[in-house]
Homo-oligomer: 152 residues x 2
DNA sequence: GAAGATTGATGGTTCAATCTTG
DNA sequence: CAAGATTGAACCATCAATCTTC
C-alpha cells in the first residue's frame, strides 16, 4: 500500500464522514425550521433561477443528481404542498414543466436566509477563508465529469 | 452575500456532488465485482481490525455512521450470506457481538485489492499527491466532531 | 425507435416503540 | 431507569417496465 494510495483512502473516508455530518446537520435544520429537505430546497432554488421559473423535469434531474423517477417523486411532494405547479410545453407534448408558484418563491426566500447562514457557520467554523477556497476548488474538480444520476 | 459565504456554498455544493459521484462509482464497482455495498465492505473491514474479529453492534454503528437499527439490518444481510456471525458476551448478556467468519475474511481480502485500486484511480485521476494530502486533511477536519448517526 | 415522464416493486436508512438485561 | 439490540412503519431513492409523443 503506497503512501499515495493511503492518502487516497484517507480522502475517501473523509469524504464519506464529512458528507454524512454536513448533510445530517443542515437537513435537520432545514426540516425543523422550514419543513424542507435539502433536495426540496435545491429544487426550489434551481426553479427560481430558471427562465419563467420553469424547468423540464429531466433538466432538473441533472441538476439535483437524481434519476427522472426521483424527480417525479420529489415534485409530487412539492406539488402537494403547493410550492410547485405543472406547466405544459406548447411545442412538445412530451415535456411537463415544473414551475415555481408564488408560495414556492416565498418559501424559498424565507428559507434561503437561514440555510445560507447554516452552511456558512458550519464551514467557517472549521476553515479559514483560504482553506475554504481550496476546499471548494478541489471538491469542484472531484464532482465534475459525468456526475449525473442517470449517467451509468 | 459575502464572498466568504459564497465560498462556503460552493464548498457545500461541491461536497454534495463529489460524494454522489464517488459513492456511485465505487459502490457500482464493488457490487458488480464482489456483491458488496460500500457499507458492507466497511463493516467487514472494521470487524477485521477488531480484537478477535468481533465488535459490539453499537460500536460498529459509530464507525459506520449508522443508527443501531441500521447496523442490525446491515448485519442481517451479511449474516444471511455467511460473512458475519453472532457471538455473545459472557459478562453482559445484553450485547451481541458481530464476528467475521472465515468466509467473511476471505471475501474482504478478495475485495480489498480492487476496491483500494478503485479509490486510488478515481482520486489520483483528479489530484496531485500534494492536493490529495490537502484534501484528506481538510475533509478530515470537517468530518470530525460528533459525526455519529445517533448523535442527534 | 428514442425521449420525457410516470408507476410498481425493491433496497437502504431512520425514527419510535419494544424487549431484555444491567 | 439506562443501555444494547431488534422490530414495524415510514421515507427517499433506485431500477425496470410502461405510456405517450416525437
Amino acid at each position: 500500500l503506497t503512501p499515495q494510495a493511503s492518502r487516497a483512502v484517507e480522502a475517501f473516508v473523509g469524504l464519506l464522514r464529512a458528507h454524512s455530518r454536513v448533510t445530517r446537520e443542515l437537513n435537520g435544520q432545514l426540516v425543523a425550521e422550514h419543513g424542507l429537505t435539502i433536495n426540496d430546497f435545491e429544487a426550489l432554488f434551481h426553479l427560481a433561477q430558471a427562465e419563467q421559473c420553469g424547468m423540464r423535469r429531466v433538466d432538473l434531474a441533472e441538476r439535483l443528481l437524481l434519476t427522472p423517477s426521483g424527480v417525479t417523486r420529489l415534485l409530487d411532494g412539492l406539488e402537494r404542498t403547493g410550492l410547485v405547479g405543472k406547466g405544459s410545453c406548447p411545442s412538445d407534448a412530451r415535456v411537463t414543466y415544473a414551475v415555481l408558484t408564488e408560495a414556492g418563491r416565498a418559501k424559498l426566500e424565507q428559507a434561503s436566509c437561514s440555510h445560507l447562514a447554516g452552511i456558512g457557520s458550519l464551514l467557517q467554523e472549521h476553515f479559514s477563508p483560504d482553506e475554504l477556497t481550496t476546499l471548494a476548488e478541489l471538491l469542484g474538480r472531484l464532482g465534475e465529469g459525468e456526475a449525473g444520476a442517470g449517467s451509468a
